[in-house]
Structure formats: structure tokens, C-alpha cells
């Protein structure tokens, strides 16, 4: 009795927070879910997609009883085993990522509420009524004002604290429960990101309800080096937008160049189309060391920790503009502006300035004062050749390179006057700077690399924010039936094996009429490639969320619009209620929306939480070779596992023997392998025969193109009946199927996992 009372009281509190009295939709089964509320869904996923751990370390070093050796089935002093320790590590990574976005969201919300007031209406334009699919689905709240977003972010904060608590020594003893918690953190991350980006769109008047946003300049050569240059690095636009305002108010807008590295660059171009994007994180150190930036302004997240040292070496002035990274600098927030400028110009001091208006004024004045005295030129080939001659070919640079390149060979070729190898290496460089750190002769390797760096200027489409409801109405049916073969979302950082990989992937799938969606550093890297006609993918393909479109949603926090689009398909197209109804949405996405994420160059822990959030929502993710270093994949074993689903029309559980999607988190060693996995992971049990034939056509043709002339080894698993076979390969596939002893099987009318595991969700909930 007491328990019922308590539950009721808790529910009452939730209903109050989500304004349950406003009846826009019935409230689902899990409004504002706690950790255990979606555990059954997670366990169902983990039953098929089992965690696969690759420990970096044999030990646990987390407490004073350690270090504990966890090899050969040993348990640590607290009782933990190696699998659970890995799972704990993954949860910590997801929490770092999730809290970075949540904290960004909380900060920007506070700034914008101060500017516009708590009652500022959320209006995302004529074509976006379903403004917050993640918040509506997870919390059950329809946010109408900036103030409503506070409820969402406070919920995220509370859950993060619970999750972090579980990583304390002792306590959780199951890797599966840790995975359930990681999935919870990933889901929260998408809520936090959505809060941030909605607030930014509303508060900064970013583009929304429009597909073809402006094309903006990309690349270091797009910056006018004759002007003072301010470079923003990080993620949070709280400062860069104020600098834009300051320049406009003081008639300096065309006298100072604004540019950025990483997501702040994307944010700033959503605010000012005059700002330039230098490039992704992997070009950060390279650009800083070029010395082109007169003033560097850092905010938060993906910024180097040695920024003051690097700025000093490059002769740039540094302002740390947010409290998350103050680098031990003197806090000049309360200091007189002219005094700060004087010290920065004359004494070359760096400062933390946490008042954006003051930081903007100082940055502008310092940039204008020091720019005329600074040399901003690339190294000449002759200078590079002279420097390279000092290389002794000791090989240390190759040994420390995380991308395993033979950098020394490139340098030694420069010494001979051959710049081709260094040009090639530059395209493979992830920009960590370890090579230079290790060089016993202190060669300025990044400086030498300048001769290999492309001096081209490219174009990137400014981030467009949410996918429009009208677009979802158009593509909902073709996506779920399979006639649009899939949605391919390329997200995350730039720790790629080769910066050109992603543009080639985008080009391949846009040409094949998949919908390609991009965000963050990936969206920048994709723009740094031109086809034979000199066009980037942004110039070559339209920005619509439709077959053959290439959509840049924006910065990292705009990833929430990609998960949001999947939810919108379930809600707008399939008319399934989403309010506090996460399990139903995720089940729909897993079984019927042919979407796949590609985190080809994950570096930041945020990539781990973003990907894990997609996984809980039923979207499989492909990782590049570096991205798997977060130590956990979710893999099935297609030949051994059961592939049972409920046929909701017949109300029967059926064994489909069809591994779709085959994995939930998978690593590909090469771009070629990714080209083949993408179409396969877009296959869903819901595909119509026509849709399946289209998907298999791409799977087969890409397999033949990238893997040699044969048919895929597992093709028989994906052919249900003869009409599924693509016309062009009919004869060849029929012969193959006969050889494999293939038997036709009935497609499932309405596939769902609901009804196949213990859940509060009734089967009727998924029938629309």
C-alpha cells in the first residue's frame, strides 16, 4: 500500500513537471524514465546484440585497493571482473559525453533566458510543429517556451548524477546493467543536445524550416590574411555570437575576419554567413601553429589543453571565454578593458574573460592592434626542404603516430624536393602533434607539412537544424517501405584513417538516392573534397531531407535532429503517439526505419554517448578503426542467434532467420568495408518486396564494386521470396540461392519486438 502511494506521488510529480493536464497526446508508459524503466528494452537489445569488449588494460586502477589484475578470470578487490570493468569504462565515457552536451545546454539556456526571458516562445518556423521529438518522447513534455526547456535539462542532470554514482567502487556488478545505464546516458544525451539546439535556434535566430541554407566558405585559405583574424575554437556559441554583434554595432564587421575550428565554427556560420569554417578538430593544431589567428577564443569541449603554450609559440593572443577551460590563466573578468588589452598587446599575456561582451571587445581591440605586426605566410618549399634535411629517419614519428603513418618517409622526401608524399600524409594526418613531440631533432613537422596542405577553398552548407515535418510526410512511406533505401547519418569527430573517406561515402550514397545526413566535424571534413567538376558534395546535391539529399543539420548538438527525424517518422508518418513512449518509438525505428549512423572518426567521448543514444533508439552505428577504441561494440552472430519478432498483425512470434539489422555497433577496418556494411545495415524486416529488391541491389552492386566480383556471402539470409531479388541480378542470385539450399519464407506483416519480452507496453500500442 505504502509502495503504491509512493509511486502515485512520484507519478503526480512527473505529471506536474510535464504539464500532463495539456492533452496533446495520451501519456505513454515511461514519462521521464528512471534507470530501470527502460531496462527490459535494453536487455532485449543486448540479448541479440551482445557487448563485445576489447580491453586496453589488464588492470583496474580506480581505487586504493588496486591496482587489481583482472586477467584469467580474476576479480578485483571489490569483486569486479574484466567485462564489467570495461562496461563501467564505457559508461564513464558516455557520461563524459552526455554531461558535456547537457552542461552546454544548461549554460546556453541560462544565457538566452537572461537575454530573452523564460517565456520566450519556441517557434521553429512554419514547417516544424513537432519541435522537440526527443524531449516529447523521453519526458512526455511539449516545450513551449525557453523556460520549459529547463525542466528537460534538470531531468537530464538528475539522471546523470544517478548514473555517475553507479560507477563508484563496488555497487554495480553486471556488465549488462552497466550497458543499460550507458544506453540510458546515450538517450539523455539526445535530450540534452535537443535542449541546446532548440534554445540556440530560438535565442540566436538560427536558420530553421529551411533546407537550402547558405553555402559558406571552408578552409584556411578562405580567410583574408590581410585583416585581423579572430578564431573561435570549441562548441559553445555564447561568445562568438557576441563578437559578431560587437563588430556590427561598431561598424567593424568588414574589417575583422571571423573563423572557427570544430563546432563553434558551425554555430557561428549559423549566426553569420560571413564567418569562415577552418575545418574539423584534426586541423586545429595545424591551424594554430600556422600563426594566422591573431586572437584565439576558446569556449568548451573539443579544445586542446595546451592552448596557452601553443598560442604563445604561434604569437597569437588567447582568451579563455568559458569557465570549463581556464588553463590556469588570470581571470580578468572584472579587470578594466583597456588594461587587459594593454597587457595582451604589450606583455603578450593571455587571460580568462568570462563576460562575453568584455571578451568580444578585448578580442577585437587586441586583434586589430597586433595583426599589422604579425607575419602570416606559409612556409616556402625551399624553407621546408632545408628544415627537412635535419631528419635522421630514426622512425620515432611513425612509432607514435596513432594513424600508423610513416611520417619520416614524407619528411625525407621533402628534403629531396619531392612534396607528393607529404601531401598524401597530410590527408591522412589526424593532427595530434605526437610526431613533433617525439622528434629527437625537434623538427617542426607541422610547419614542414604546410607545403603538403591544400591551399584550396571549399564550400559547406550552413547547419539547417531540424528536419521539417513536411519533409517527413514526403519520405515517411518510402523509407519504411524501403523504396528510399536508407538514411545514412555521418556524425562525430575527425579521427579518420583518411580525411577523404567520408566525402567518397557521401557521394556514393547520395548518388544512389539514399538520404545522407551530416553533423559536426564530419560535415566539415566532407566539404573538403571536390569532384572532377570542382564541386563539393554540398554544391553537387540539394540540402533536402529526401532521396539524394545531403543535409547538414549543424554542430554536435544538432545530432538530436537526426534521432528526432527517426522519431518523427514513427509519430508523423505512422501516427504512433510518442508522449513518454520511448519503447514504442525505439521499437518502430529498429524494425522499420532503415537508418544507419557512421561515426567514422570518433575521438571525443561525446561521440560514444551520441552513438549509444542512437543504439537505444534502434539505429545501428558503424565505427571507423579508431572509433572502436572506446572498447565496446554490440555484435550479433548472424548464424547462431535467434531472429524472432512478433508479427503484430497475426499476433504470432515468428523466427525470421533474418539478421536485420545485423549489428548495433560495428567497426569497419576500411572504407571499402563500410561501403558494403552501410546498405546491409539499412535492411529492415518491414521492407516491401520492391523496397527489399532496391536495398539488395545496392548491397550487391557495392559488394561487387568494393570487394571483387562475387555475391555477398550472406545474401541468402536477406532474400525472403523471389520478388526480393533485384531484377538486374536475378539469374545470378537464383543460381546462388539454389546452391545455398535457400527456401522462401513469408515476410512479416508488422514486425515488432513488443510481445517477445516482458514489458508494460501492450502489443496494441505498436499497431497503427
Amino acid at each position: 500500500m505504502a509502495e503504491i502511494k509512493e509511486i502515485t506521488k512520484k507519478l503526480e510529480e512527473i505529471h506536474q513537471k510535464i504539464k500532463a493536464e495539456i492533452p496533446w497526446e495520451p501519456i505513454g508508459h515511461t514519462p521521464m524514465p528512471d534507470i530501470p524503466d527502460l531496462r527490459s528494452w535494453d536487455m532485449k537489445l543486448l540479448q541479440t546484440y551482445k557487448p563485445f569488449y576489447a580491453p586496453f588494460c589488464d588492470l583496474c586502477c580506480f581505487c586504493t585497493y588496486g591496482k587489481c589484475d583482472l586477467t584469467e578470470d580474476r576479480r578485483g578487490a571489490c569483486g569486479i571482473d574484466i567485462g564489467t570493468q570495461q562496461a563501467r569504462f564505457v559508461l564513464l565515457a558516455c557520461l563524459m559525453g552526455c554531461s558535456a552536451h547537457a552542461s552546454h545546454a544548461g549554460h546556453i539556456l541560462e544565457v538566452l533566458i537572461e537575454k530573452h526571458g523564460r517565456d520566450k516562445k519556441i517557434d521553429l518556423g512554419t514547417f516544424v510543429d513537432l519541435e522537440a521529438p526527443n524531449i516529447r518522447t523521453v519526458l512526455g513534455l511539449k516545450p513551449e517556451t525557453l523556460g520549459d526547456l529547463e525542466t528537460a535539462i534538470e531531468y537530464v542532470y538528475k539522471e546523470i548524477a544517478h548514473l555517475l554514482d553507479s560507477t563508484h567502487m563496488g555497487q554495480e556488478g553486471s556488465c549488462l546493467d552497466y550497458e543499460s545505464k550507458s544506453l540510458h546516458a546515450g538517450m539523455l544525451d539526445h535530450v540534452g543536445m535537443e535542449v541546446a539546439d532548440i534554445a540556440q535556434i530560438v535565442g540566436f535566430n538560427y536558420p530553421t524550416s529551411v533546407a537550402n541554407t547558405p553555402l559558406v566558405d571552408l578552409g584556411w585559405n578562405s580567410v583574408d590574411k590581410t585583416k585581423p583574424i579572430i578564431c573561435f575554437i570549441g562548441h559553445n556559441p555564447a561568445t562568438s555570437t557576441v563578437v559578431v554583434d560587437y563588430l556590427q554595432e561598431n561598424n567593424l564587421y568588414d574589417k575583422v575576419e571571423l573563423c572557427g575550428v570544430c563546432c563553434t565554427a558551425l554555430e557561428t556560420t549559423r549566426y553569420s554567413a560571413r564567418a569562415k569554417v577552418i575545418g574539423p578538430f584534426s586541423r586545429q593544431l595545424f591551424f594554430i601553429r600556422s600563426g594566422f589567428a591573431d586572437v584565439i577564443m576558446t569556449d568548451e569541449q573539443c579544445i586542446r589543453t595546451d592552448m596557452p603554450q601553443e598560442a604563445t609559440k604561434a604569437g597569437s593572443a588567447l582568451i579563455a571565454a568559458l569557465d570549463k577551460a581556464m588553463y590556469g590563466l588570470e581571470d580578468a573578468t572584472d579587470m578594466n578593458t583597456d588594461e587587459i588589452v594593454k597587457k595582451m598587446v604589450e606583455e603578450k599575456k593571455h587571460f580568462a574573460i568570462l563576460n562575453p561582451k568584455k571578451a568580444a571587445e578585448v578580442a577585437t581591440k587586441v586583434a586589430m592592434a597586433i595583426a599589422p605586426q604579425r607575419r602570416k605566410e606559409w612556409i616556402t618549399e625551399q624553407e621546408a626542404t632545408e628544415l627537412a634535411k635535419k631528419c635522421s629517419l630514426c622512425g620515432m614519428c611513425e612509432q607514435v603516430c596513432p594513424n600508423l603513418f610513416d611520417i619520416g618517409r614524407g619528411i625525407s622526401e621533402v628534403a629531396k624536393g619531392n612534396f607528393d608524399v607529404i601531401r598524401e600524409i597530410f590527408n591522412l594526418c589526424v593532427g595530434c602533434g605526437k610526431c613533433e613531440e617525439e622528434c629527437p631533432r625537434n623538427l617542426p613537422i607541422f610547419k614542414i607539412m604546410q607545403v603538403g596542405a591544400s591551399k584550396e577553398t571549399w564550400k559547406i552548407r550552413a547547419g539547417r537544424g531540424p528536419i521539417m515535418d513536411t519533409e517527413i510526410r514526403t519520405v515517411g512511406a518510402p523509407i519504411t517501405l524501403g523504396t528510399i533505401p536508407g538514411v545514412v547519418a555521418l556524425v562525430g569527430c575527425s579521427n579518420f584513417p583518411d580525411i577523404r573517406d567520408l566525402a567518397e561515402i557521401v557521394d556514393e550514397f547520395a548518388r544512389r538516392k539514399y538520404i545522407v545526413v551530416l553533423s559536426g566535424c564530419t560535415s566539415m571534413a566532407v566539404g573538403m573534397w571536390k569532384d572532377a567538376d570542382g564541386k563539393t558534395v554540398y554544391e553537387k546535391y540539394p540540402g533536402d531531407f529526401d532521396a539524394g539529399g545531403v543535409v547538414n543539420v549543424g554542430s554536435c548538438v544538432a545530432n538530436s535532429h537526426i534521432s528526432g527525424a527517426a522519431i518523427k517518422i514513427a509519430n508523423i508518418f505512422a501516427a504512433l503517439p510518442l508522449r513518454g513512449n520511448y519503447e514504442v518509438m525505439a521499437d518502430y525505428v529498429l524494425n522499420r526505419v532503415g537508418a544507419v549512423g557512421i561515426a567514422w572518426g570518433a575521438y571525443s567521448q561525446k561521440a560514444a554517448s551520441i552513438a549509444t543514444g542512437f543504439n537505444r533508439l534502434g539505429v545501428p552505428v558503424i565505427l571507423g578503426p579508431h572509433s572502436s577504441k572506446y572498447r565496446r561494440l554490440y555484435l550479433s552472430r548472424k548464424d547462431e542467434d535467434e531472429w524472432k519478432v512478433m508479427d503484430a498483425r497475426k499476433r504470432q512470434i515468428v523466427e525470421t532467420s533474418e539478421p536485420s539489422p545485423e549489428h548495433l555497433a560495428y567497426v569497419c577496418e576500411t572504407k571499402e568495408k563500410a561501403m558494403v556494411m552501410i546498405p546491409k545495415l539499412c535492411i529492415r524486416k518491414n521492407d516491401t518486396p520492391q523496397g527489399r529488391a532496391i536495398k539488395l541491389n545496392h548491397y550487391i552492386s557495392l559488394y561487387k564494386k568494393y570487394m571483387g566480383g562475387d555475391l555477398p556471402e550472406d545474401l541468402h539470409l536477406y532474400v525472403r521470396r523471389d520478388p526480393d531479388i533485384p531484377l538486374v541480378y536475378k539469374k545470378e542470385v537464383r543460381a546462388y540461392l539454389q546452391k545455398m539450399g535457400w527456401k522462401p519464407k513469408e515476410p512479416v506483416g508488422l514486425p515488432t519486438l513488443i510481445g517477445t519480452y516482458p514489458t508494460k507496453v501492450p502489443l496494441d500500442s505498436v499497431i497503427h
Binding site: 589488464d58 586477467t71 567497426v667
Partner: protein, 186 residues
């Protein structure tokens, strides 16, 4: 089996942080002995074999000679299947490194020839950081088998590894001698 003083791996992203590290083997006869002793060895071949050659001969060809010498089944990635077929050998199974590691973890898995799980798994041609991760999976979660690497770098998470070999000639000699020993019966 393991040794206490570990060598440093060539690529420092693979530095071991732990207690159990691979036994470094320089003598091809010892490798041949371990392979011959195994009941159901398996050779896992990765996509880098496409690019690597020694003295004008693809490293893939050395791998196929090793397999032929002892009728060792081959698990290859999709990407090198067509080259293998061109060289006259069809792989026994097609898996990526993580997929084969995932199957090998299961002691009840029937193996690529359905004769039972393997007791010695040899790796060649996978990029070192990804290969090291697969070896770590097997080190921790597949106590029922041993792992061996044939690449020219030291892999701490394997059971048996070659040392870091600076000169390709030395690696070529090792592989040729290994093939000879295997042909002679190990």
C-alpha cells in the same frame, strides 16, 4: 607462457598496460612447433595483405603457403577473398577480425570447418591497432585458445608474437623458414 619484461610494441598506441604479455619468438622452428602441436589451428587474414609484399611476392602468398603446408583453414576478410581466389585458394570462411573474434570467444563454436572451435589462431594483415584489440578480446575472453601473430610487429596481447622487425628481409626469412619447417613436419 608469458614473460615479465615486455618489449615495446612498434606502434605505441598498443603499449601494454597490464600484467600478461606475449612471448616474443624469433625462431621460426618454435613457431612451427606450436602450429604443428595445435589440433585445430586457424589462420585469420586481414585487408592489409593487399598492400604488403616482400621481395616482389605478396605477403598473402606467404600466408597461403603456410596454410597449405599444414592444411590450416583460412578465415579472410571480404576484401581479400577475390585476390585469394585469383591465387587459387578459396577461404574457408569470410569474417572481419571482430566477427571472427566474437565467434572464437564461444568455446562451443564449431569452427570454420565445423570440426570444433580452434585451439590456435594466427593473425596476419590486420592494421596493428585493430588487430591488438581483437587479440585483447581473445586474451581476456577466450582462455580455451592461444593466439599467434605473423606480422612484423610485436603484439603484447597475443600469446606468441614476433619481435619488432626493422628489415623486411628479416621478416621474409622468418616466413620462408617457417614454411620450410612446416613442410618438413614442424
Amino acid at each position: 607462457m608469458s614473460q615479465l619484461a615486455p618489449s615495446l610494441p612498434f606502434h605505441r598506441v598498443n603499449i601494454l598496460t597490464g600484467t600478461r604479455t606475449a612471448r616474443q619468438v624469433e625462431d621460426p622452428a618454435e613457431y612451427a612447433k606450436q602450429i604443428t602441436k595445435a589440433q585445430r589451428p586457424l589462420l585469420v587474414l586481414g585487408p592489409r595483405l593487399f598492400q604488403l609484399s616482400l621481395g616482389g611476392k605478396l605477403v598473402l602468398e606467404y600466408a597461403l603457403d603456410i596454410a597449405k603446408a599444414k592444411n590450416i583453414p583460412i578465415c579472410a576478410t571480404d576484401s581479400i577473398k577475390s585476390k585469394m581466389v585469383e591465387l587459387g585458394t578459396k577461404p574457408d570462411s569470410i569474417y572481419d577480425a571482430v566477427e571472427i573474434a566474437n565467434a572464437l570467444k564461444d568455446p562451443d563454436w564449431k569452427g570454420v570447418r565445423k570440426e570444433g572451435n580452434h585451439d590456435l589462431v594466427m593473425f596476419l594483415g590486420i592494421r596493428t591497432d585493430l588487430g591488438e584489440q581483437s587479440l585483447s578480446v581473445l586474451k581476456h575472453f577466450a582462455p580455451h585458445l592461444k593466439t599467434m601473430t605473423l606480422c612484423k610487429y610485436y603484439y603484447p596481447h597475443a600469446d606468441f608474437s614476433l619481435p619488432n622487425i626493422r628489415k623486411d628481409e628479416q621478416w621474409k626469412n622468418f616466413l620462408e623458414n617457417l614454411i620450410d619447417h612446416l613442410k618438413k613436419g614442424g
